[in-house]
């Protein structure tokens, strides 16, 4: 999910960069407060690469198939490093896949990264809010929420941006109707992201539970 160059007005792109800069500053501050920030860098870097590569896997959703975004899962596994991972992923995407995105890098990062950080927080809450449930139930619920919120918020930001940049000559009501339809169409996908995130967390729980503690 990324917004191509040339569509958004320049002030929005600049604002995107400004906000992204601010979040980066915050993320680095939090990271540098941990005991050994550099120790986590190889893990975050290689997992970022794995997510980048893994996004090419398409999941069958009859009648078609989809590529999942999984920014919620990235947040759950990497915490604050997820922001950096997304930033790097977008940069490498712009450079290696050659479809532009350098002017919209800031906006795209905010669109995908901020929901990832929120998803990370939600995932962490499973220890506190999930106490009444069994550990497995709590993992299931909160990993689903992390996955769904990650994509859901990203889609919301995406569509909001599009509404505000569409030319004013477009028929208002048609525009809103079209966008509502798009949002509704995305609900199943949001659900699927939640499901995939849960399944993957259970896979990791069985084989390498330490990956779930970031």
């Amino acid at each position: 999910m990324h917004i191509p160059d040339g569509i958004l007005p320049a002030p929005v792109c600049v604002a995107g960069y400004a906000i992204a800069g601010g979040v980066t500053w915050l993320a680095l501050k939090r990271i540098n407060q941990t005991v050994d920030p550099q120790a986590e860098v190889p893990k975050a870097a290689l997992l970022a690469a794995a997510f980048f590569v893994g996004s090419s896997i398409s999941l069958p959703v009859p009648p078609a198939s989809v590529h999942l975004v999984l920014n919620g899962l990235l947040g759950a596994l990497l915490g604050w490093y997820a922001w950096l991972a997304i930033l790097i992923g977008l940069l490498l995407q712009a450079i290696l896949l050659g479809h532009g995105g350098l002017t919209t890098l800031g906006v795209d990062a905010v669109m995908m990264g901020v929901p990832a950080l929120i998803a990370a927080r939600v995932f962490q809450l499973r220890h506190r809010l999930g106490k009444p449930l069994s550990p497995k139930r709590s993992l299931a619920v909160f990993s689903f929420l992390a996955g769904a919120i990650g994509v859901g918020l990203a889609a919301l930001i995406f569509f909001t941006l599009i509404i505000f940049t569409l030319p004013s000559t477009l028929d208002r009501s048609a525009e809103q109707g079209f966008l509502t339809a798009l949002m509704v169409a995305h609900i199943p996908l949001i659900f699927l992201e939640g499901v995939f995130t849960t399944l993957l967390c259970f896979f990791l729980l069985r084989i390498k539970p330490e990956l779930l503690e970031s």
């Binding site: 040339g6 550099q38 120790a39 893994g54 991972a85 050659g98 479809h99 350098l102 993957l200």
Partner: protein, 263 residues
Amino acid sequence: MAIALHADVFIPGDSPLHRWAVRPKLLSLLTLMFAISLVRHLLLLPWVFGVVGGLYLASRLPLQYLLRRLPYPGVFIVAMVGLLPWVSGETVIWQWSFLALHLEGLQTATLIAGRFLAILITGFVLLGTTPFLDLLAALRSLGLSPLLTDMTLLTYRYLFNIAAQLATMRQAMRLRGHGLRRQTLQRQWGWLVALFGSLLLRSYERSQRVYQAMRLRGYGQQGQGLSPTPAAGSARAAPAPMTVLTLLSAFSFVIAEWIFLAS
């Protein structure tokens, strides 16, 4: 996923753009890209393309390079550019039964397509004439955190290995019959979760080995990090004229827009 090897993106050469120092080049070309995104009047597009075309010519990158990369604009922009003339605007310039081509929509679509193409080409000029490591070193010198550049280097370094690993794993699955027959959704999703999960696990385990190896070479001691060393032979004789010309062009777009707005 067609991840281009950076060798395919960067093309060594000796043009004024190749010899342009990375920091001013990066800043000037980014400024140009933002200036292009400011353009709102169709009349400016020919001038924009003149500037961008001139840059591309000066870079002496082969035309093939551009043509090979252009066909990847993505569904979204094609949809926007394709639909707008039919749904947006009031002045109808051509009609056939229920299909009506609107002038304003056509103008907006052309503007969007034009801006997109111009920014894309500028991006190719930047990436085609600058080695990745030089870009990273320039970003570092502009103040990008060392932690971030270290992480970028590592991700980039292992991206191709991990992509090759995934390709091999998928080949192994196909050799055991994957894709041969229709399977239940439950099985298919289970396999793909396991595939992605295994890829994550292998990457994680490799990262632990990488970290151990890096530690043995001093990484992490007193903030010592990786340092992106610029490619050998990159001349630092910055042709200042390039910076000046580019920035002037960028400002010219802004000023022209302002004039159009005022009139």
